[in-house]
Symmetry: C2
Subunit: 405 residues, 2 copies
């Protein structure tokens, strides 16, 4: 008897949660589940900015897959997906090939540079444990070098964030908390260190409530962050960033440019021949690809239009996690020959952290929150995810309980 | 009434201990004492290899000068010495000039490269808090980059130590203790990391007892250190080191070359017109310059021939500390019109650390010690110095008590 083979590629929020849900829905041996991921760990992308700033160790952000996935029910393969062949129902890996009956694509996002010269080679991005850890070390390395250069080089102490979106603002908030420590460690006057956010549009945190944006800017400015809006980055070199504002070109000497202005869905989806909109698959209501009945798409690779606003849902962890429940349910429905159910987003609100004890957000019924209260809500949301993923044990191990200090 | 003005340049072992001794010998206002140093701290040069390896924080190694020097008795100037004019009795600083009645030169050592191309630009050296801290960060930075290079680059994980003398061996001993931590932190297989000591002569730790040398080599080899003797470094680049052995040139890809094969007395002494032997002043028995009655030289800038062996005393902390007592005593004698006393070295032995719990050494009456016992002796010697410098309070703050773990 052929057991249906479900293959999940990518262990981000969507992929890992689908796997965990599936292993709960099926008994041992009922179906064959394979999870493929580049690393032997899942990580919380929404915490990476803290790892990059050095305020939270990356081991808190990552979770070994074997801790949350039942290896009796799931085959776990550490490998990199090269391409998908949906007509042949195969996934090509760097070191092999997998045939599937049903596929869940959860390959996440990648950096996009809009063709700006130098971004790919000289700018850093907050996209993985490896890249976040490198930013932390890059900052330290430049601080450590400062007193050893023949001429003191401000490019070592100017940190430029390209893009004042969610990630850029959250990173800035952590960074200004970290700078006093870095300054003490490397004997550098705190006042010499600059953190500059360059934002191409007229405001940071576009789409957020203006009152909350103002709160966020004031909070960061009071801790030393400088904002330049309407500033389009034109080029990055190893030692500087060039931007244009009001028709004039300006240059900031900087060896640390954090690019947080552009992400897109993983290119593999488009390159594998799926029909895409901005690189994403416009999935059916039940989260299947419109072209293939046996392919689900979750998270950043999927696009769903919010009928209320007529624009796509944002690519958030929250949406990916909600989708994973529906996908797991629908996989079971298809195997049992039942009808699939449609995805309905349930907004729990959005909170952006601004450092240890500050945040802004919009929660249930569009209520605005800010300050310490918002930062506590953020932590509760994060702990709630850990609870769903790995139960109370995981919350105790990796959760955030520093509400008061 | 003119108070004699004693100027001490350099707050290394010799300079700081002379200052501390002088402030004990004289009451407030009896003489004018000025200490000049580049930084506002003194540091234990013999601990820097631990800071460089990352096994000990540099704040343990450095001591704020105001903690051990009585600011009621001593004027402390943070500045860099540019030159000395002994005929005019003046010291030129970067930001000023000082006139003295008596001078103590304690300007320490600097790196010498024997003209080998690339050493100055691409090799690191363990010579100051700044340079040791940079080595620690350079190691971490390369480990952090390893998984982000398009092609894995072994030059990031090969650590080459140029020179198997005291410093090179002690650094290797700490480094191999640190590598398991670094490997875990950056998800790198421990076995991929190499530590290679290149030694130009036929043996490491030249001058040490052969039995102890063998013990040291075996200890380090068992923890993964590779030795290449009779290997003369010919060139360093940013990514490799080239050496010659048995007439053949070999290249090791490495971004981390620690140069520990050559130090010399600070060039300022020679450049200021003092008669020198290999850059050092061959001082009189009472530690004064042969040319100037009012100039003492202490530590690495002084040369004294050991009459028993007919060769110069090695440039150790121990000798510098012993000299400082005699210099302080002789300054008082000269001021009081009494005869100076000659310096007599008292060897307390030499211990080289090989990591946390291992060491080799020769102590009183040429007794050989090694292993845990020697490492404890090393720590006791270090704590003894702290006691002399700043009393029991300083021992409690900066001492080493990890005898058993």
């Amino acid at each position: 008897m052929h057991k249906p083979h479900v293959v999940i590629i990518g262990a981000g929020y969507g992929g890992i949660m689908t796997t965990v849900k599936l292993q709960k829905l099926f008994g041992i041996g009922q179906i064959k589940i394979t999870l493929v991921n580049k690393e032997d760990y899942h990580y919380q992308t929404t915490w990476l900015h803290e790892n990059a700033a050095g305020t939270l160790h990356h081991d808190r952000t990552r979770i070994p897959i074997k801790e949350v996935v039942d290896m009796n029910k799931v085959d776990f393969i550490i490998d990199t997906v090269v391409s998908i062949n949906p007509s042949e129902k195969k996934v090509k890996l760097k070191n092999g090939e997998l045939a599937y009956d049903m596929l869940v694509i959860g390959l996440g996002f990648e950096k996009t540079t809009f063709g700006i010269p130098g971004i790919r080679d000289h700018a850093f991005s907050i996209e993985s444990i490896n890249s976040a850890r490198l930013i932390r070390e890059h900052l330290e390395y430049n601080f450590a070098n400062y007193h050893l250069d023949k001429v003191n080089d401000n490019a070592r102490l100017n940190i430029v964030i390209g893009g004042g979106g969610f990630t850029g603002m959250e990173f800035a908030g952590e960074l200004v908390n970290r700078i006093p420590e870095l300054s003490a460690e490397y004997d550098i006057e705190k006042a010499l260190v600059r953190v500059i956010i360059l934002e191409a549009s007229s405001t940071v945190l576009q789409g957020f409530d203006p009152q909350l944006v103002e709160y966020a800017m004031t909070s960061l400015q009071s801790r030393g962050v400088e904002f330049v809006t309407n500033a389009a980055i034109k080029e990055c070199t190893q030692d500087s960033v060039i931007y244009e504002k009001d028709g004039k070109k300006c240059e900031i000497p900087s060896k640390t440019i954090i690019w947080s202005a552009g992400v897109r869905a993983n290119c593999i989806v488009e390159q594998s021949g799926f029909e895409t909109n901005c690189g994403k698959v416009e999935v059916r209501d039940d989260l299947r690809s419109p072209e293939y009945d046996d392919v689900f798409v979750v998270g950043d690779c999927a696009m769903i239009i919010d009928k209320e606003t007529d624009s796509p849902f944002p690519p958030t962890a929250q949406i990916a996690i909600q989708q994973s429940s529906v996908i797991a349910h629908n996989i079971k429905a298809l195997i049992e020959g039942k009808a699939t159910e449609p995805f309905k987003a349930k907004s729990l609100g959005t909170v952006a952290s601004l450092g240890h004890h500050d945040a802004i957000g919009v929660v249930l019924n569009n209520r605005k929150v800010f300050g310490w209260k918002a930062s506590v809500m953020k932590k509760i949301i994060d702990n709630r995810y850990l609870l769903k993923l790995g139960g109370i044990g995981l919350v105790m191990k990796k959760g955030k309980f520093n509400f008061f200090y």
